[in-house]
């Protein structure tokens, strides 16, 4: 492969990687927020993303909505689902050992996956095309309009989230709870409500990711959330868990690395690359790229 075609291929994979990475980032944001606030690896988060894709599917094919209303519908439904899951399965376990909550999360994840199989059959469904496919050539690099839509939607959602977290009263409460839940409670913050809101926000973002994936790959199935769920967690750890810009950065890096590995090596090693990065980052910088090292206290 000569230099020129290498560069072309590289640029092309960067484009693919960034669009995939922004979807990872959307899922990772929910992970990181939930982890930041209740220290739970919410294994069911990937399945909320799947739920979101199905809600988007219902909105576009049965309700005949166009893209923007459909994504808002999916986000709203997933937010409600997230609140219900938190209330039913996680809230009663606030004081239980961490591993028990983790097992509950795994149980919820199974329940969503196989419940969806029961309701919607295990067969993949074709996500209706909400845009006419248009392809743009930027020099040798091919960009389609779905990728542009993904990038723009992800950017808008992340901006809105950053605004909510940094500049609203609710966001301030969220930051306070994740910093020190007991102190926040003493200051009169309703912790349960803040946790519910975090689940709602995180689930809505995951659902948006699900709809975007449906638009991008045109196919959704009940088990689609398993692997992206875990990978989004990798992205969250990569950027520094609990840190919101970290999840965005981690998602993008993960997407780009995966695209490069499948473009230049082999697509079968794509998943191994994601986990390989995870191991490396954990061994050399466990607090993540943007994380601060916290010294262990006795």
């Amino acid at each position: 492969m000569d230099m020129m075609s290498f560069l072309e291929q590289f640029a092309q994979q960067m484009v693919n990687g960034i669009s995939l990475g922004s979807i990872y980032a959307l899922i990772a944001l929910g992970y990181t927020m939930i982890y930041g606030i209740i220290k739970l690896i919410n294994f069911a988060h990937g399945d909320i993303y799947m739920l979101g894709a199905y809600f988007g599917f219902i909105a576009t094919s049965y309700l005949g909505l166009s893209f923007v209303p459909a994504i808002i519908f999916a986000m709203a439904c997933a937010a409600i689902a997230g609140i219900i899951i938190e209330r039913v399965a996680y809230r009663p376990m606030r004081n239980a050992p961490r591993i028990a909550i983790l097992i509950t999360a795994i149980g919820v994840s199974f329940l969503l996956e196989y419940g969806m199989i029961l309701i919607a059959s295990p067969q993949p469904r074709t996500f209706p095309a909400v845009f006419d496919a248009e392809i743009y050539h930027l020099g040798p690099v091919v960009v389609n309009n779905q990728q542009i839509v993904i990038l723009i939607s992800a950017l808008i959602l992340m901006t809105v989230l950053t605004y909510i977290v940094n500049s609203t009263k609710a966001g301030k409460a969220m930051r306070a709870v994740s910093f020190d839940a007991d102190a926040a409670r003493l200051m009169g913050i309703n912790i349960d409500r803040v946790i519910s809101m975090t689940f709602a926000l995180g689930s809505a973002l995951a659902a948006a990711g699900g709809v975007l994936v449906g638009v991008y790959y045109n196919s959704i199935d009940p088990l689609m959330g398993m692997l992206p769920g875990i990978k989004a967690f990798v992205a969250a750890v990569l950027g520094g868990i609990g840190i919101i810009p970290g999840a965005m950065l981690g998602g993008l890096i993960l997407g780009v690395v995966e695209a490069l590995v499948s473009g230049f090596l082999s697509s079968t090693f794509r998943d191994a690359a994601a986990f390989g990065i995870l191991i490396l980052i954990l061994l050399y910088r466990p607090s993540g790229i943007l994380g601060k090292n916290v010294r262990e206290k006795v």
Binding site: A96, P97, I99, I101, L111, G115, F275, L282, V298
Partner: protein, 320 residues
């Protein structure tokens, strides 16, 4: 000491009797092939659960990549018997040692991490092992390694299960085991007391991985095939669930968890579409009702059944 030996002897006699009953029932065709399969699966799952309990329950190191070691055992065992034509006994030994060796290599760097980070790292490593196997054509790649003879029978799996249970029980009661328990209770304190925490963490991890390898050899030599899809992180979750359901840090708990979940799975196999749903609801409800697992960290003993009798009995009921 004498009392412990006496207990061991009793337990051994009881297990021989249980084995003879099971074998007799299978001979007499009272237990059909379906339940025979499930009994062997229970033995394999008990090995997996008790070995994971050694890592997660006794040493307190949160590992969720056990399926990776299961895969290593399954595949190396199959290579020994199928590709090299060597005897099954050797396959068991090599499968165990190679899974243990890999556990050692993986454990050494990753056990510096703790808590959720270790969990995710082991989960990732388990997946990396699987993906690597998926890409090795020598062992069949994505279609799996086929044509493995069925050598595992009740005698092998039951015998090895008893061996593993006794090994881990005695390990727990040894000086090494006590060091592991100390690490679980408080790693920094254990370190201050002069326990080489890294050494014992890696030791427990290596032993757990090795026994998972044993289970892998048994597994592939019962089901004729070693397939990458049987060793996904879902399988690791399965094993973890057995341990946590029974009660983390309880040997009898791990055994009960393995038996119970295998039975639930087997019973529900008649309703394939409802199977996982009932399974997951059972899981959630059990965790909500008893977050510390069925037995907590206690061992099952006759004392537990004496209602309100002694402090031991009281401890196991509280918690909620």
């Amino acid at each position: 000491m004498n009392a412990i030996r006496k207990f061991d002897l009793k337990a051994l006699v009881a297990s021989v009797i249980l084995y003879s009953i099971l074998e007799g029932l299978i001979m007499a065709d009272i237990i059909g092939p379906f339940w025979e399969l499930n009994i062997i699966l229970i033995c394999i799952n008990v090995i997996l659960a008790t070995s994971l309990n050694l890592i997660n329950g006794y040493t307190g190191q949160f590992s969720i990549g056990h399926a990776g070691f299961l895969a290593v055992g399954a595949y190396t065992g199959a290579i020994i018997t199928v590709k090299l034509g060597l005897p099954f006994e050797l396959a068991l030994i090599v499968g165990t040692i190679s899974a243990g060796a890999l556990g050692f290599l993986i454990g050494l760097p990753t056990l510096r991490l703790n808590g959720d980070y270790l969990a995710i790292a082991t989960l990732g490593l388990g997946e990396i092992i699987r993906i690597c196997i998926l890409n090795i054509d020598y062992v069949g790649g994505a279609s799996g390694l086929m044509g493995i003879p069925r050598i595992t029978n009740l005698a092998w799996s039951f015998g090895l299960m008893i061996f593993v249970i006794f090994f881990i029980k005695n390990f727990k009661n040894s000086a090494h085991g006590r060091a592991c328990l100390a690490i679980r209770e408080n790693e920094i304190a254990a370190d201050t007391m002069g326990i080489d925490t890294t050494k014992y963490k890696v030791m427990a991890f290596t032993l757990g991985a090795a026994f998972a390898g044993t289970a892998g050899v048994l597994f592939s030599h019962y089901f004729y095939i070693a397939h990458p899809a049987s060793f996904t992180f879902m399988r690791s979750f399965d094993i973890l669930t057995m341990v946590v359901l029974g009660g983390l840090g309880s040997m009898t708990g791990a055994i009960t968890g393995a038996v119970l979940l295998t039975f639930i799975s087997a019973y529900l196999s008649d309703f394939p579409e409802w199977r996982m749903i009932i399974y997951s609801i059972t899981l959630i409800v059990l965790m909500l009702r008893r977050p510390q697992g069925l037995f907590g960290s206690q061992e099952l003993s006759l004392k537990m059944f004496k209602l309100g009798g002694g402090k031991d009995g009281g401890n196991t009921v509280t918690g909620k």
